[in-house]
């Protein structure tokens, strides 16, 4: 495992930052970490990169305990509130970060040129960081994270300041990194972005992980059905409710969320067996957004 956490907890006096976080992130995957504002996403990332110290629990990164200097050489990090020395040029900033990671001479120059090209700042390297737009500053931050050719990259809201084209470029960079066997821990609010590229996701709410697993599996079970039927009875509604959660009954329209895709024919059977007349039945696979909203509303937690 690239990241293993066991009961990782951070308390700010009486306030919970994150509580008993147990996560396992395997090699070569894009791991999406989701949660509403103030849920504890950045707290966990900050603990893992060494900015915060956990109150309880433990974690191992690339097989070593938190804070191991050797492991830090293999980690790249783009902070959420990215701010860099605005009095340096892009190249100087990268040169400084390269030196921190032990890069020297021609190797450093080559890597700087490579990452600047990769993030679309190939011709802006001689400009002062202070003259960059917010999007360009985020790009140069991403370049800093990629500079040491890390095995594990933490990206905290990496596209928050980018336009749609920039977001697409960053997605392509992440997919490209995964192709090369790198592991990416993506902390993002953008559910559509996470849904597009992540292999696994974890959802955190009020400091606790409420769901974690492969994205496909998390979304596979749940399906939403909307049907128009005549002669709707209370018995029919009760039987339908047992298949999942009833979302809406209005006039001849019933909308419900099923736990299993295999229950779709059962829905039709219940309507017909209860004397109803089925006019239409449409299904829609639940999106990550639906899952996210449901879980955050429920507020339950997966304990270790």
């Amino acid at each position: 495992m690239v990241i293993e956490t066991d009961g990782l907890t951070k308390m700010y006096c009486q306030k919970v930052g994150c509580s008993e976080i147990c996560l396992n992130v395997g090699e070569g995957q894009i791991f999406g970490f989701l949660g509403p504002n103030g849920a504890g996403k950045s707290t966990l990332v900050k603990i893992l990169v060494g900015l915060l110290f956990p109150t309880a629990g433990s974690a191992r990164i690339l097989g070593k305990p938190l804070g191991d200097q050797g492991v830090r050489r293999k980690i790249g990090f783009l902070p959420e509130n990215f701010r860099y020395q605005d009095w340096l040029t892009g190249v100087e900033l990268l040169s400084f970060h390269g030196s921190l990671y032990g890069l020297r001479g021609a190797e450093k120059t080559r890597r700087i040129r490579q990452v600047l090209e990769r993030v679309g700042l190939g011709d802006k390297g001689r400009q002062k960081v202070g003259s960059y737009s917010k999007g360009m500053q985020q790009r140069v931050g991403l370049a800093c994270a990629l500079l040491p050719d890390p095995e594990l990259i933490f990206l905290d809201e990496p596209t928050s300041a980018l336009d749609p084209l920039g977001r697409r470029e960053v997605r392509e960079i992440m997919l490209d990194l995964r192709e090369k066997g790198k592991t990416i821990f993506l902390n993002s609010h953008l559910l559509s972005e996470v849904e597009m590229i992540c292999d696994r996701v974890a959802i955190i709410n009020k400091g606790n992980i409420v769901k974690e697993g492969p994205l496909g599996k998390l979304l596979a079970g749940a399906v939403e059905v909307e049907m128009v039927a005549g002669n709707i009875t209370q018995k029919m509604v009760d039987e339908l409710s047992a298949l999942g959660s009833l979302l809406k009954v209005k006039g001849n329209t019933i909308r419900l969320s099923l736990r299993e895709t295999g229950d779709i024919p059962v829905v039709a059977e219940i309507v017909v067996n209860n004397g109803g007349r089925l006019f239409s039945l449409n299904t829609r696979q639940n999106s990550l957004e639906d899952l996210f909203v449901d879980l955050v509303k429920e507020g339950g937690a997966d304990k270790c």
Binding site: L51, I75, F77, N81, R83, L100, C144
Partner: protein, 277 residues
């Protein structure tokens, strides 16, 4: 550590902290040079020219070094006041701490960078004051490496405290605290000299306590005594009032000053190493 030190030096230059200080120091030295020139020249025509000339040149020298120490102290505090807190407040440190550099190395690197810059500036300032006095008054003082080193040591003492404060105080609170502490040292040093002059043990004790709280002023007294008590010089170091030094601070005071720097640096490193960012 050296990467951080190099970046710190570059920051002082790029953010024009050094440039502003050099411009202000040049303004001060120009005014000082004009003052020394006309003060000494005009005094030549007075009836007290003979006895006064032996006193006035060392007085000009001590004034130059005293107010020069002020300027350099301001530079030390202003440069380092947000060295840690400022970078935490604006988020710049978030990209540095996760890199494979120990937090203690970040503190030491910054300290080395600022110390280097302050030492170069202090040495040049010291040389400029001595040259102005020598050119205008003819007061010939031997070049003493010890005195130059001590002159460079003064801002480093303040730097260590400022960096310590920067690890747990906000930038503004740290700036106020450091200037107040420096003022305590300066006022205490003056009271000690007055106490010696009027034979008041209480004032002397206040001076000793203030020197323990902030030993930068003791270092200045050591420099003045060291410079003006050289063989062949007059005993005018005793006649410089609060700018002079009636008794030489002991070697143990220098040892204490060294320990003071080391302890505050160690505390800064310790606090920063355990700090949540």
């Amino acid at each position: 550590m050296l990467t951080i030190a190099a970046l710190t030096c570059k920051e002082v230059v790029r953010r024009r902290i050094l440039l502003v200080t050099i411009v202000l120091a040049a303004a001060f030295l120009s005014l000082y040079g004009i003052g020394v020139h006309y003060g000494y020249q005009d005094m030549g025509g007075s009836q007290y020219a003979g006895p006064m000339s032996a006193l006035i040149a060392p007085m000009f020298l001590s004034l130059g070094l005293y107010f020069g120490s002020f300027i350099i102290a301001f530079l030390a505090v202003m440069a380092a006041v947000g060295s840690v807190s400022g970078e935490i407040e604006n988020g710049v440190i978030n990209a540095i701490v996760p890199s494979p550099v120990r937090r203690v190395d970040i503190i030491l690197g910054k300290f080395i960078g600022y110390s280097l810059m302050l030492s170069v500036f202090s040495s040049l300032f010291y040389a400029a004051v001595l040259l102005i006095v020598r050119y205008n008054t003819g007061l010939h003082l031997p070049v003493k490496a010890g005195a130059i080193t001590l002159f460079c040591l003064q801002p480093v003492v303040l730097l260590a405290v400022t960096m310590f404060g920067s690890t747990f105080l906000s930038t503004l609170a740290n700036g106020i605290a450091c200037f107040m502490l420096y003022a305590v040292g300066v006022v205490g040093g003056m009271l000690e000299q007055i106490g010696t002059l009027v034979n008041s043990q209480m004032l002397v004790n206040i001076g000793i306590v203030s020197s323990l709280l902030m030993p930068a002023d003791s270092v200045y007294r050591k420099i003045v005594f060291n410079l003006l008590s050289a063989p062949g010089s007059s005993m005018s170091y005793m006649m410089l009032g609060p700018f002079g030094s009636y008794s030489e601070p002991s070697v143990w005071m220098l040892v204490y000053t060294g320990l003071y720097i080391v302890i505050f640096l160690a505390l800064a490193s310790l606090i920063f190493s355990r700090k949540d960012i």
